[in-house]
Structures are given as C-alpha cells and as structure tokens.
Symmetry: C2
Subunit: 266 residues, 2 copies
C-alpha cells in the first residue's frame, strides 16, 4: 500500500479540532476532501499523530496517508496549495515506509502553550493574556515538579485508547522571549485536556493562587489541582518525533513587536 507522511500546519480557531465528525468543520475532514479531489481516490486512510481539540493550533502535526495508487508528492502538494482554505497548509509530503502509522508510531509529542506578557492587538488568536503579572520563577518550580512518571488522573481523562492515566512527562519548561512566555510539554502521549489543565495550574501558581509545593499533592491525590484549564487559543501541537529523528522545537510566534516608548508609563 503506498504510504505517505504529511506535515501539516493549521490555525485552529475555526476548526472543530482534528478528528472528522458527522457535523462540524474538522482538519481531518477538510484535508480528506481535498486529498480525494487531488488523487481521484474516494477511499483514503488519513491518520493524525495528535487529535487536537477545537481551537487548538498545529505547527507540525504529522499524518499518515494510505492510498491505492502511487502519488507524485510534488504535484499533490502543489494542488493542495490551491485547494486548501487559508487556515490549513500541508508543509511536506514524503513517501513513508510500508505500514507507517502517524499515531501508533509516534514516540513523542511536543505541545507548547503561549502566554502573553502584555495585551496585544495581534495576540487574541494565539495567546492567553492573563492580565496580571505572573511569578515565572514559581511557575518554573511547579513545572519542574510535574516532570517524570506520574499518575496524571487529576489533570485529565484517559484518551487515545490508553487504559492508564500514567504519563511519563519528559519536559515541562518555560521559555520567556519578548512578549511571550512559552510553556512546553513533551511526552509519549497526553491525557485528554491534560496540557490545558497543567497550564491552568501553572498560571494559578504564577498568580499566587496556588503554591509550587502543592504539585506533589496534586499528583498523589491528596489535593486537587486548580480546576480551570487554559483556553484553547494558546495551545499548539508543535512537533512529533519518530524513530531516531531529531526533535525540532520551534521558537515562539510573536504577537507584535517592540515599540519605542518615549519615556512612557507602560
């Protein structure tokens, strides 16, 4: 079976998530329609590495595509550029080994959450502006306490057919650059809603509504983490790793630029 690997970028604001649904505009659905038109094949199998929720973006979603006939990737890519809507782009199509499955074969997924440090006219769709100063050092301590093999049941439901709520979180780190604080999480898989719940808890620590020393008690079940998750708009699936490939972790998407301040008040 001819199999291909697609790297996909989407602005999630107007999508009801990745996974195809009877109703609702989904990334998988829109992309399958375009691929059927381009290939002329009514039966295609398209599987994404991450089932992102409504409003969540992707910089480097990966999907596997199985077809009946061999494709010419450059032609398909060119025709997709003309067919796909403005908020969805296929960045690469390459032949993949027989049997490649983007979700089952993924070793690690990297998500980022973009917190805005100021109100920006360009930030609404891609960031969460909390509206008050955050104690980044306390948030870093709390993030570090999340790293490792833990039962994250308090942070999300099971998802993706896994029976266990145990997740090995290999990275939970803050990167502050310019007007953005990027919070990055890497793991083999995540529970449903886990990243947004973890970000919500870190922001509670940053605001002083919770303490980084509470994290172990959230994980061992003796206390409940803050219940509010972060809004979808700040969340991006940024990369998926397979085999021995290096993990490409891209820099933040800025929300504007520094402006010369003539000795002002902000």
């Amino acid at each position: 079976v001819p199999t291909y690997r697609l790297t996909i970028e989407y602005e999630g604001t107007r999508f009801s998530g990745w996974q195809i649904q009877p109703r609702g505009r989904t990334v998988q659905g829109v992309l399958l329609d375009a691929l059927r038109e381009v290939t002329g094949e009514p039966r295609l199998d398209l599987q994404g590495a991450g089932r992102t929720d409504a409003g969540v973006h992707a910089l480097g979603q990966v999907a596997s595509l199985r077809c009946q006939r061999t494709l010419r990737p450059a032609d398909v890519a060119h025709r997709l550029d003309a067919l796909l809507p403005a908020d969805l782009a296929v960045r690469s199509i390459t032949p993949a080994p027989h049997g490649f499955h983007a979700r089952h074969d993924a070793l690690e997924r990297s998500y980022r959450y973009q917190l805005a440090r100021r109100r920006s006219a360009f930030g609404k769709r891609w960031t969460w502006w909390v509206g008050e100063p955050l104690d980044l050092a306390a948030m870093e301590q709390a993030a570090a306490a999340l790293v490792g093999r833990h039962d994250f049941a308090a942070f999300g439901k099971r998802g993706g057919g896994k029976d266990s709520t145990v997740v090995v979180l290999s990275t939970a780190a803050l990167v502050a650059t310019g007007d953005i604080v990027l919070v990055r999480f890497v793991a083999s898989h995540f529970l449903w809603n886990q990243v947004r719940r973890m970000v919500g808890a870190l922001v509670a620590v940053g605001r002083g509504d919770a303490d980084s020393r509470d994290v172990p008690r959230w994980l061992d079940g003796t206390a409940s983490p803050p219940p509010l998750g972060a809004p979808a708009a700040g969340l991006f699936l940024e990369a998926v790793r397979y085999g021995q490939e290096p993990f490409m972790l891209p820099p933040p998407i800025p929300i504007g630029v520094p402006v010369a301040d003539p000795g002002g008040t902000r």
Copy 2:
C-alpha cells in the same frame, strides 16, 4: 490644554481604516468612544499620524489627544486595556508638549509590507502570498530606483491636504527573513494608495512581468506602472518619527515556524 501622545497597535482586518466615519467601525471611532468613557469628557480631540485604509494594520500608529482636564496616564492605560476590543491596543500614553499634533508634527512615517515566501496557515491576515517565486534581486534594483525626490503621481492620488504629488522617498528596501520578505518605505508623507501601488509594481518586477529599468519611465510619465496594488492585509504603519527621536523599525511578524522536513519535496 492637556495634551497626550498615544502609541497604538491594531489588527486592521475588521476596521474600516483609521478615520472616523458616520458608518463603519474605525480605529479613531472605537478609541474615542473608549476614551470618552474613561475620561468622562464628551469632547476630546484625537488625531492620528497616519490615516490608514481599511484592512491596514498598525504596529506603532501615533495619536495626539487633547482634553479639558489632566489625566493620569497609567490609570487611563489600565482602563483602556479592559475596555478596548481584542484587535486594538494602546501601548503607551505620555504627556506631550502643549500644541503637539500627531499628524502635523510627524517628520517621517515608516510603512512595511509583508510578502510571504510560502503558503502558511497563519499568514492570511498579515501577508500577501503571491504564489510563485519572486526575483528578489530585481525587486531590490527597482526599489532602489524609487528612492529620492520624485513626482509619484502615477502611483497614487494626493492625500492629507497636500497639493503636490512630489514625495521624497528616503527608504525603499527589502528585508528577507525566514518566510517573510519585508518591503519598507520611509517618507515624510505618502500619497493615497502609494505604498500598495509601489509594492504591486515591485511584485510585477519580481514575477518578471516588468523590468526594474522601467522604473524611471514610470516616474517621468513616459510609461505607466502596473495598475494593480497589493492587498491591504500585508501593509503596516510601523513607526512615526518626531523631532530628534530615533526611528524604531521593528522586525517582521513571522507567519509560523520552520518545521523539520524529513527529506521532503517542498
């Protein structure tokens, strides 16, 4: 009369431009409404340095505000953050000398146009993706030929109450970074539509539909420049210079990030 200088950022997509109109959502109109509510003063005078058109963005628009009573800038800024819509932000408010007028006192205005070098799911609102390769060296030659004191009548109508179509263009330069080619123009003032017409002409040169050696003939009136202007979405008023202040020219707003390409075709 208490006078203030405001630095303003907006995402122009949903605005009918800067200048207040009887109908239509304008930056000046929305900002005046918010300022009236914050100050309690029904009669305020708010003048912007650049009358940007519908769909044009601003990173550093400057406005002068005249009021009846003295304001506390930090309080006004804080209350505006809560009142203004997501696509409009006031970045600074500072006391200005008596008689300061943002439009009349401006010495130079800098506009940028963002051309996308690839199709991006994040680029539609802020860039123009031409959809074919551009000869950047030819565009640079054409841009250089535009610099200087010329009659730009072929590129735009008079605007801003000026009688002459002569403009001294001090900068016309390309900056290529990552997925963006930024085209920057600096002049004391511009004709209406001039920047978008100049970008349209440069893109015609980049596509090979025109030649950089045609530029002098466009300027002396012996030939007509390409008639199509560039779309509003790529255009930003980026900075305004007054007096001896340095000119702050900010970097491009990216439209996504590099993605590791597993030996692909794009």
